[in-house]
Symmetry: C2
Subunit: 429 residues, 2 copies
Amino acid sequence: MRRVMVKELNNYINEEVKIQGWIYRIRKLKEITFMILRDRTGLVQCVIDNKTIDMGNIKLESVVSIIGEVKENNNILNPFEISTKNFEILNEVKEELPIEINKKQLEINLDTMLNNRILSLRHEKINSIFKIQNLIIQGFREFLTKEGFTEIFTPKIVAEGAEGGTEIFEVKYFENKAYLAQSPQFYKQMMVGAGYERVFEIAHVYRAEQHNTNRHLNEYISMDFEMGFIENEEDVMNMEENLLKHVLNKIEKEGKEYLEILNIVIPKIENTIPRIKFSEAIEILRKEYNKTDIDGDLDPEGEKLICKYAKEKLGCEFIFLTHYPRKKRPMYTMPCGENETHSFDLLFRGIEITTGGQRIHEYDMLIDNIKYKGLNPEKYHNYTSVFKYGMPRHGGLAIGLERITMQILKLENVREASLIPRDRTRLTP
Amino acid sequence: MRRVMVKELNNYINEEVKIQGWIYRIRKLKEITFMILRDRTGLVQCVIDNKTIDMGNIKLESVVSIIGEVKENNNILNPFEISTKNFEILNEVKEELPIEINKKQLEINLDTMLNNRILSLRHEKINSIFKIQNLIIQGFREFLTKEGFTEIFTPKIVAEGAEGGTEIFEVKYFENKAYLAQSPQFYKQMMVGAGYERVFEIAHVYRAEQHNTNRHLNEYISMDFEMGFIENEEDVMNMEENLLKHVLNKIEKEGKEYLEILNIVIPKIENTIPRIKFSEAIEILRKEYNKTDIDGDLDPEGEKLICKYAKEKLGCEFIFLTHYPRKKRPMYTMPCGENETHSFDLLFRGIEITTGGQRIHEYDMLIDNIKYKGLNPEKYHNYTSVFKYGMPRHGGLAIGLERITMQILKLENVREASLIPRDRTRLTP
């Protein structure tokens, strides 16, 4: 007998079916027992006659298989229930569950949630986070594929970091030292030059951040794209704007049931996302909020305030800041005049979710800029040599998957948007 | 003026367009020059009047922008050509190219190809490999999403390897030692138990293989799926069979132009893939090919011979070998009797492209089997504890992306199916 999923049961009224899943709730009365079964598609109430079926003291979350008739019935879950004929235990829970997961709200702290990740993920509110995350990923891919981008997978074991700094994990690679990629930056640029012109990658990247914050992970999923034959960073921002519209629209359409569970309304982008220069943002922060301690990049408070400004004065929860100072941007960033760059960040609800910009495409300028940043061009030979053989103007960006998930779903901590997060102190489960 | 892609030019006959790309070939005659331009969608011939436009000694592979009229003309590439009005150099190649990439065949050895990867990828035969690889990935996702699978991303920095053995890379993780994941095995099983039931992941995995062979990479893309509520490994094999049919069909339909460039005909799976027990395979090798040196797993010669047998005697280029010996399979594999397991490999054209099977879902049996394999259950606590709280019967498999690409496209070396491969000695580019 083929298993029927809970979501399909409405097609089987008055028929006998087999359903399988986890025991979500049990309410034992004198004559009958109400049991709620959960499978990956939903919940259904099963009525069990205590005279014919002895459930014993079976624990919640045990895995069971049930054969019964689908009968019309108005209960809180569905317009039908299962009249149980046969009850089989597939895998019994023998120990007390370490956390209680069968309530509307999961009232545990973050550490307990992550320590018992497999159980906490069974809770519909937590489960739904990753269903929405799936839609973000699918929307990203769909949109870019339609726009002529090729999906790539590039190495995460690298000889040299792309982003500079010391926040890089070391790997013992046979006799050599290697590192975990901080970003696919060099490789996605190379793939533009390799003739694919437009590429994207969704893959793990690694940052050995020393500090634990609510917005940083040491391993996260970076959604990157890079595109050739652009005029400047405006083309990249335009692409992101349309990409985000597509993604948000997809979530709204296809993620309804999960959004309801999470009680989330998807933000709208009307027309375009406001774009202001970083230097203007500093002016605004000084004038409007009396904040004067910015040096080259916004701090968390600055990000919050400029988003507040964007929402209240410009009517958008997103804001592009452009023309970041040259001294704060990596060596591959296209300069704009002496002190600025053709780069941008996208901020959303108080946090940066994208960094992007136009890249340098000319060999000599790249070598000069590496030196300007106080780095040694020799070390980047494998990267720079590509620029000798015909690299088009290009630019791109990266969106942190967990960050954008966190911001769309108004989660308090980015760890909640990672199935199995890695941070400074967390290597398990 | 908006850039038009070469593939769209047939919609612009007698109109003026802007095209951009790389100079693929130049043939200078007395009065005119024929230049072929390549963009990501194809090649087009441009005719340049030497009197009005001086191209100088511009080198092949320089990046250029051309404005001209699309005129009907029968040449080897298209039923049209560009009558050039304006010629602009966007980024000039100033050095001699290290390899010659503008011939029908790229006549260089593998090392030279990989050392000059960005240039070699511009060759249509090499470029096409990754276009087909894209279709494999898309087909895998499409099919599984339709079948109710949820896409997951699980950690690649892990405290403990899943596959056992010493072939594992060490990472310096702050004060701790960690490792690079050999597979998402533990995590995909956990996600089945977390209520998603059916999950897949396409991501990097790492094997510190000491030896360099034509079929191994130290970093590769593993296409994994895992499914709950199965009867046994047969359900997993059935799923793979339908998955492969979908993928092969997709390549055939959507990859025509690339298959033609590569001169490849896609293999057909008529009805089902033959399934024979590993022990039978050993018998066949002994009887038919006088091969008697098998111990627990096939060697490369054995794999080739059994595939030869499958093709010649069973009429299929694929073959499932089932019931592998318990002593050779990892501790999570469901035993079948005392000496066999509910596991399988899929072999295709002489190489294993999939390992899969049913997994142990009961806590006590798992602990016993870990001991049976001579391992310490304490070390696997984070994994095994999940099995106490209601794990359904489940199984799954992994397909090596580069391997299946290599086999479908009849490449000689798996490195050819990796954009930027990593092996024992190759950490760059």
